[in-house]
């Protein structure tokens, strides 16, 4: 933090060298001061992010420590605790969180790509603009509203779909044993998918719009139809953008609380029965549900689960960075 007041020594961009500044710009010293102040401020802002991140990580570790270091007997005193250790308690939650988010991603990404392509390459200009606004608007809806919508309306609409699925394809374990009302992980994933749809669509659309005109025209000149052009020019160019958009969406889905809390009937199982109630729970929703009546060690256990979620989102983001960095050279951009 003291770095903010000193000249940006460590910053690897020494744009105005000392000689220039001393000789020529003395008259315009106000400009130099402003530039220094700005450099200091932006360095400070950059550092603030690191400090915040470190503070959050430290808080999680310190507050989770009593739970992480507690003996199984001590953990037994927390009335809702299951499993012998914190790891055993967190494991099904991690599973539920990942399953819900991945399902949501599977539902949302194809639709998002479709919408983004429609806006960028198919729709008439005026319609595309309006549609773009609408999508951005969807992104602004608070998650608790999605939760209410999911719990009070969507569940009723999904009921006949799930009933049909379970009765006709019931021999597939994935959709077996549906029980009304539709408070299962599939419903939660549908709500999550709707929630992350706008962000994935918006980013993908921007990337698709940046496809070099020459690539598209070259493809069309070779006799490609519009769909073939999209496949040959737009999608390869936009692939890394779509991946990073999906990761943004995944990040939001992983941490989503209210929508899941209100929709799902929670359970602590490693189960692939997507339509059964009481099988899965996510970390964030579990914290929200258990926190109000917890005290002492119980709070520590919940914070330990929060630490797990922190690590997961970190890993997901790192993975996304890695994928994007690896794919950058194939993107076709020049």
């Amino acid at each position: 933090m003291p770095v903010t007041t000193t000249p940006p020594r460590g910053v690897p961009d020494p744009a105005p060298s000392r000689a220039d500044a001393g000789a020529a710009v003395r008259a315009a010293s106000t400009g130099r001061v402003a530039s220094r102040v700005f450099a200091g401020l932006s360095t400070g802002a950059g550092l603030l992010i690191l400090v915040t991140l470190a503070a959050v990580a430290a808080f999680l570790l310190i507050r989770a420590w009593p739970a992480l270091s507690a003996s199984p007997e001590e953990l037994e005193t927390v009335s809702w605790f299951t499993g012998g250790s914190v790891a055993e308690y967190v494991a099904p939650l991690v599973f539920g969180t990942l399953l819900a988010s991945v399902l949501a991603l599977l539902l949302a990404v194809p639709v998002s790509i479709g919408i983004a392509l429609f806006i960028s390459h198919y729709a008439p200009r005026r319609l595309a603009q309006g549609l773009g606004y609408l999508i951005d608007l969807l992104a602004a809806i608070p998650s608790v509203v999605y939760g209410l919508w999911g719990a009070l309306w969507l569940i009723g609409q999904l009921d006949p779909v799930f009933t049909w699925l379970s009765s006709t394809l019931g021999f597939v374990p994935l959709v077996a044993d549906y029980q009304a009302p539709a408070k299962n992980i599939m419903s939660a994933s549908v709500v999550l998918a709707v929630m992350i749809l706008p962000i994935i669509t918006a980013v993908s659309r921007e990337v698709f719009l940046q496809t070099p005109r020459l690539h598209e025209e070259a493809s069309l000149a070779l006799g490609a139809t519009r769909w073939e052009m999209v496949r040959q020019a737009v999608l390869p160019f936009g692939r890394s953008g779509v991946i990073s958009a999906s990761m943004l969406g995944l990040g939001r889905a992983l941490g989503e609380t209210m929508a899941v809390l209100m929709v799902i009937s929670p359970g602590f199982l490693f189960s692939f029965f997507l339509l059964r109630p009481g099988q899965h729970q996510t970390i964030a929703a579990n914290i929200a549900s258990k926190f109000p009546e917890s005290s002492g060690l119980g709070v520590s256990v919940l914070i330990a689960t929060g630490l797990a979620l922190f690590v997961i989102t970190f890993v997901v983001n790192l993975a996304a960075r890695w994928i994007i960095a690896r794919r950058a050279e194939y993107s076709g951009a020049n």
Partner: protein, 366 residues
């Protein structure tokens, strides 16, 4: 820093003395003077179950004593007892009575006095079901049948066991969908306690604030359970009775008759229940007799206690606590909590009120 508490104490002491004289003059049941001579602040913390009632009581008490600022932090029963015993708050709300080691701490916290535990919030719970076409006002069930339903041993509504208890009622052959609370709650704890004590072994689990079975439908909070039960025909759940709304409610078997939920029936079970072994004149701890056979008693209730001290260091605290608890125990205070828009609680009986008021009157300072 060192001066303010002294000055505050003296001021509080003055108002306290003033109020005491006023109360002595009026010589009625000390519900505080209508004009309100008290001042200062009164902090409480504790159970979320009685939060809505306490908010109502605070509003009602304000009309009587606008000078006293009462606050209540709904941190949960355990947190409330902790804060109370540490001296951070003057009163607490708790779904459970003080434990033995807590009683020792209370002795210390109360200047050598005793803890005061008053059952001032009696909340009936209802077993609700979603069977819109049922041609009976209340489905009649014994505790054992309810236990078997929630333990998923009985899986359809036209099960012979249910039919035997409901002669003449045309039961649908629907699947039963039991719904429980997904969060930790006093409601679940009291419900499982009822099932454990009254079902004669049909409920194989221990009473606990978190639901013992997994893999079923559940909802977050009372509202979550209600939404879930309303979401599917054949669903059955347990909620605060005041929230039951349009859903059908079960009449529970008590002795040889079936008693539907009502606030009188809920108050009756508290009167019919024995006191805990270590209860005293100020610790009115009730051991709810879930297996009661008293006529007209409804055993599925939640009791939340108001905790206070029999002796406070500051006169002002003692006076304010007395005035506040007297209001809570008064017919007006109980009626306020009974309002479905406030908390839908069951008012305490006059007999219990007399005992409660005697305990409140014993609160002193110094």
């Amino acid at each position: 820093m060192t001066f303010t508490p002294h000055r505050g104490r003296r001021a509080a002491a003055l108002t306290g003395v003033l109020a005491l004289t006023l109360a002595a003059c009026s010589a009625g049941p000390a519900t505080g003077d209508a004009s309100g001579g008290l001042g200062g602040s009164l902090a409480g913390a504790g159970a979320t179950s009685q939060e809505r009632a306490v908010i109502g009581w605070i509003a009602g008490f304000y009309d009587l004593e606008p000078g006293v600022t009462v606050s209540y932090d709904a941190v949960g029963s355990g947190g409330g007892r902790e804060q109370f015993l540490a001296g951070a708050v003057q009163f607490a709300g708790s779904d459970a009575a003080l434990k033995e080691d807590e009683l020792e701490q209370a002795h210390e916290r109360c200047e050598g006095g005793e803890a005061v535990e008053l059952p001032l919030y009696i909340s009936p719970m209802a077993v609700v079901y979603n069977l819109p076409d049922l041609d009976a006002e209340h489905l009649q069930l014994s505790a054992a049948t309810v236990a078997r339903i929630f333990n998923r041993d009985i899986t359809t509504w036209d099960d012979p066991e249910i039919a035997a208890e409901n002669p003449g009622v045309d039961l649908p052959s629907l699947r039963i969908i039991p719904v429980n609370r997904s969060d930790e709650s006093g409601t679940t704890e009291n419900f499982t306690e009822y099932l454990e004590d009254a079902s004669g072994g049909a409920w194989p689990h221990e009473a606990s604030g978190s639901w013992p079975l997994s893999g079923g439908q559940s909802g977050n909070g009372n509202q979550g359970v209600l939404d879930t039960v309303e979401g599917a025909q054949g669903a059955v759940g347990y909620v605060d009775a005041s929230r039951a709304g349009d859903l059908g409610t079960v009449a529970l078997k008590v002795g040889e008759e079936y008693v539907p939920y009502s606030s009188q029936a809920a108050a009756a079970v508290v009167d019919a229940s024995p006191r805990a072994e270590d209860a005293t004149d100020t610790r009115l701890v009730v051991e709810i007799d879930r297996d009661t056979t008293a006529p007209g008693a409804y055993p599925l209730v939640l009791i939340s206690y108001s905790l206070a001290c029999s002796r406070y260091a500051r006169v002002g605290d003692a006076t304010n606590v007395k005035a506040y608890l007297s209001y809570v125990a008064s017919p007006q205070g109980q009626a306020r909590a009974a309002d479905p828009a406030v908390a839908g609680a069951a008012p305490i009986s006059d007999a219990l009120r007399a005992e409660v008021q005697a305990a409140i009157d014993s609160i002193t300072a110094g």
